[in-house]
């Protein structure tokens, strides 16, 4: 893919990924075919800030985990009252990175 398009994608979507993954994504995107651009620009990523807000407001019920697609952990969190409150607080700090990791997982299916 053209470098210009790739840089445009990185600029627009950089905040959805962990910093150390950006270079990997860039390198991979440069290698793939130009025809995949249309599909790539339609992938929807989860916003880490949104999940942080949800985590603070409704983390005790595991809604944040459901939101990013970790349904199994969401059920676990719901059944344990948010891990007796401990898991809830831990997740306030973890959820943003978890969201970015989920986004990486999503784009990986496309890249490989």
């Amino acid at each position: 893919m053209e470098a210009q398009k790739v840089d445009m994608f990185i600029l627009a979507n950089g905040k959805f990924f962990e910093a150390h993954n950006i270079n990997i994504i860039r390198d991979k995107l440069l290698l793939i075919d130009d025809s995949k651009w249309a599909v790539l620009s339609t992938i929807q990523f989860k916003d880490p800030t949104t999940s942080l807000i949800v985590s603070i407001l409704a983390g005790g019920f595991g809604i944040d985990r459901f939101l990013i697609g970790d349904t199994g952990l969401g059920i676990g969190k719901l059944l344990t009252c948010g891990g007796m409150g401990i898991w809830t607080i831990v997740d306030w700090f973890m959820i943003q990175d978890a969201t970015r990791a989920k986004n990486m997982e999503k784009i990986q299916q496309f890249l490989y």
Binding site: T71, L73, T80, G82, G83, M84, A98
Partner: protein, 136 residues
């Protein structure tokens, strides 16, 4: 969190161990001491959807199934998961298989289907309303 088999098993083991310690503590504690740990309940004074599960599990252990069902039906799910997960993990680790991991993924996929998800959400909300009415 991008889970691999080993990470999931470690996490579930920690969760189960904590669960068993909590149940043991609940069974042996002085009934006068108030041990509400639910963050939501402390903040809002309203019980959360799963408040009462530990009391429900202790009632199951003592044989009062009806009382357990009245306290919180979710206690049965928790008790069932607490009972089977450790054995499943041990068997999987010994046989070096990943049947639990595959099941976990299958259940995640199943629950994510909109129709199933909505059904579960409605059930949880009904349970929550019941919890608030019971003033757990």
């Amino acid at each position: 969190m991008f889970f691999t088999r080993n990470k999931l098993y470690l996490f579930l083991s920690i969760l189960c161990t904590a669960g068993y310690f909590w149940i043991y503590f609940n069974l042996t504690k002085n009934p006068i001491i108030n041990t509400d740990v639910c963050l939501f309940k402390h903040v809002t004074k309203i019980p959360c959807p799963s408040c009462g599960s530990s009391r429900s599990i202790t009632q199951i252990i003592q044989g009062n199934i009806q009382q357990a069902l009245y306290l919180n039906p979710l206690g049965f799910i928790s008790a069932f998961l607490l009972l089977i997960t450790p054995f499943w993990i041990i068997i999987d680790v010994i046989l070096q298989k990943k049947t639990l991991f595959n099941w976990y993924k299958k259940i995640e996929y199943f629950v994510k289907k909109p129709k199933i998800a909505i059904l579960f959400i409605i059930l949880i909300i009904i349970n929550w309303i019941w919890n608030i009415k019971k003033e757990l």
